[in-house]
């Protein structure tokens, strides 16, 4: 019998050698995987470049320009911190974190900017320009759901990750969700779920509401969510009137409210529109009215400090919800406010907060994945649980790419302590109260590889 015909024999030395080799392979997956990613060709791969470009697409004009300006400030601060400059802000409080302050994967972060003009077509054009001409590896920003959905669709087609800025429509992570799109900001469903019980407590169950709604995806979404939760309380919806985005003069929409018999006006407006519609509603004497024996009330479901600043005295006592407020006392919020305030002399808005967090989350996901290759970065973000970013324990739900965290119900501050102390936090609504099934709003994420 020939020796090589024999049943393979494994001696102790051979076994040790093979086990050691297998161990090296098994215990060093990142080494081999990194090699595998490097072999994959993807759009705007920085390869040997010493820098990596991020694209910040914010409204620098239009109804949401205030938010856009603050978003851009936050992005610049985030880039500074990622590159190891400044005091580090939330990089020091984020847990878990692989960020080291040496850029992303050792490459210095640079950025390009675009103006969405609060218009979907302009936003898509500027995002496309940043991806194709500036080599942006990730796009972030926007202050309108219409813009976010349009840009998110483009990013899916181009295989570029989109970290949404301020977008509040359910559709962004509902029926229009995309594999390449991620939203840290809350949505109208969460606003309704958090505001409902507070409105019941403050105004009772027998109310008649009149909605003025910005006529695009966010307005429709918010009107739907607020109607759902207020009608569940027993409120009647008298009318829901659509108004064009950026209408400016809302008087023609406010005058019919005066004789409608409604005793609550719900303003589904944001930014400059909300400042104008609220100011004009107050000028028309709505807050001084008494209808059906009840004091007339105004509700602004999505509130921000920037809007409160624009609306001045008119905002006092008005209820709404917000994603984050600079007055929060947790370690992450304080670190961010301190850093942002030192840089710009103002506290950050909720739009600035979400954009800053999104930039850090993307950078951290690249570090976790060990690559810029988008499908692996996406996998790192999906289901990622983190804390120390201002909203308590937070999770990026894998099924719809929506962040789940605590939501704030706020009221225009009657007795502010400072020029920035415009919103008073009435309640920090726990995440469990605003959670919903990922299938509730339909939608498909689509493929990892495009």
């Amino acid at each position: 019998m020939k020796k090589n015909d024999q049943t393979p024999h494994l001696d102790r030395r051979g076994f040790m050698k093979k086990t050691a080799a297998a161990g090296v392979v098994a215990s060093s997956p990142m080494f081999f995987m990194k090699g595998a990613y490097a072999a994959k060709d993807f759009r705007n791969d920085p390869k040997d470049s010493k820098t990596v470009t991020l694209g910040f697409n914010v409204p620098q004009s239009g109804a949401y320009a205030d938010e856009g300006a603050d978003e851009l400030r936050a992005y610049k601060l985030a880039v500074k911190h990622l590159n190891g400059e400044g005091d580090g802000g939330m990089m020091k409080t984020m847990k878990p974190s692989m960020l080291k302050g040496n850029g992303i994967l050792g490459k210095k972060v640079v950025f390009s900017t675009g103006d969405t003009q609060t218009k979907s077509d302009a936003a898509r054009a500027s995002a496309k320009r940043m991806i194709e001409k500036d080599g942006a590896l990730m796009i972030s920003g926007g202050s309108s759901s219409g813009v976010a959905i349009a840009v998110q669709g483009l990013c899916q087609e181009m295989g570029t990750i989109f970290m949404a800025g301020l977008t509040h429509s359910n559709d962004t992570t509902g029926k229009d969700r995309r594999r390449y799109g991620f939203r840290h900001f809350f949505n109208t469903e969460m606003s309704g779920a958090s505001l409902g019980p507070v409105l019941e407590k403050e105004f009772g169950k027998e109310r008649s509401a009149y909605h003025l709604t910005a006529d695009y995806t966010w307005g429709w979404s918010q009107e739907g969510s607020i109607k759902k939760y207020t009608e569940a309380l027993g409120w009647e919806t008298k009318a829901a009137v659509k108004t064009p985005l950026g209408a400016g003069d809302f008087s023609q929409y406010i005058t019919p409210v005066l004789n409608s018999g409604a005793d609550v006006l719900v303003l589904n407006h944001y930014g400059k529109d909300m400042v104008n519609s609220l100011t004009q509603a107050v000028q028309f004497g709505l807050r001084d009215k008494n209808i059906n024996g009840k004091d007339f009330q105004i509700v602004v479901p999505l509130f921000s400090r920037l809007m409160a600043q624009g609306a001045g005295e008119n905002i006092k006592g008005i209820f709404g919800s917000t994603n984050w407020n600079w007055a929060l006392k947790d370690e992450g919020s304080q670190a961010f406010v301190k850093s942002f305030g030192a840089e710009y002399g103002n506290p950050p808005s909720q739009a600035a907060h979400t954009c800053y967090v999104q930039t850090l989350l993307y950078a951290n996901a690249c570090e976790m994945a060990g690559t810029f290759y988008p499908p692996e970065v996406i996998k790192a973000l999906e289901g990622f649980k983190f804390d120390g970013m201002g909203n308590g324990a937070t999770e990026y739900r894998a099924e719809d790419h929506q962040c789940f965290k605590d939501v704030l119900v706020v009221r225009g501050n009657q007795n502010p302590n400072s020029q920035f102390d415009l919103l008073e936090v009435v309640q920090e609504v726990p995440r469990a109260q605003v959670e919903y099934d990922s299938k509730e709003f339909g939608g498909e994420l689509g493929p990892y590889e495009v």
């Binding site: 620098q60 004009s61 239009g62 320009a65 205030d66 300006a69 009318a239 009137v241 064009p244 400016g248 003069d249 008087s251 023609q252 929409y253 005058t255 019919p256 005066l258 004789n259 409608s260 400059k272 400042v275 104008n276 004009q280 000028q283 028309f284 004497g285 001084d288 009215k289 624009g310 001045g312 304080q334 406010v337 301190k338 942002f340 305030g341 030192a342 002399g345 103002n346 506290p347 302590n417 400072s418 020029q419 920035f420 102390d421």
Partner: protein, 338 residues
Amino acid sequence: MDAILIQILNGLDKGAAYALIALGLTLAFGTLGIVNFAHGALFMLGAFCAVVFQKILTISVKVKDESVTLFDAYKEQPYLEIWLGDFGAAIVDWAVPLSIIFAIPVMILIGIAMERGLIKHFYKRTHAEQILVTFGLAIVIQEIIKHFFGANPIPTPAPDIVSGSAAVGAFFGLSDNLVYPWWRLIYIVFAGVVIFAVFAFLKFTTFGMVVRAGMADRETVGLLGINIQKRFTIVFAIAALVAGLAGVMYSPILPPDYYMGMEFLVLSFVVVVVGGMGSLGGAVLAGFLLGILQSFASMNEVKSIIPGIDQIIIYLVAIVVLLVRPRGLLGREGVFED
């Protein structure tokens, strides 16, 4: 009844703005034959006169805000308030009405500069070329304003005493529910005064008589030895002033931003066309008429019959008027018809 009265008031206040802008536009067109697409920019510049004047009055010293502890924040305290106390604060409060004094010379100068510097070179050019150059000018003006003041609207509130609403219903012995913002009522009255002043100027002064003659038949006026061209600069300056004053007084209703002129420009042209090209009375009439129609079209009862009618009513009326009366409501024969 209340609902109808309030919609009429709302229509009047919208119409007042349309009428004032259209009046200046028609004045320039009727006399100079210029289709001025930069007229909306003049309205916007007027509103920014209020902004600039407010900024001048509120030049401030920065004072550390001790209530903010996480970072160094500063409050602004106007020198006027430091120097003059309550009187200084009252001057700041009345910034918008006071800015009319500032806006009058500024708008006249802008009008003269615009006419002498650019418009006069285009009197004999085609209307298409006039539209292109004035539209370009409007964009340049917008971008200059955006550069210096940013893209965001700048709040320019009305004085405290007129920032609330007037009990119009109680005043006329009607329902207590009928209230209307004081400033909007003031705007209606202001527009009436300006329109009256322009008409009186054209009707009762020799200068006005020549201008009216020029509007009716420029060639004959020229043959009579009157150099109508010399008066054009002043007419253009008056048109700029009317648009500017409309803008100043509109600033508490709509916080000014660089784009506000464009939003009114298209509507104003529709108003001019509906009123009749070159007809001052037509522009005023059409301004108020379209304002009131737009206001009524926004009533829920109307929208339940024709959804979205409030967005298109002005254009629908324009189509109907042009089909029935191609020269507009009070249009003259021969204007824009050569």
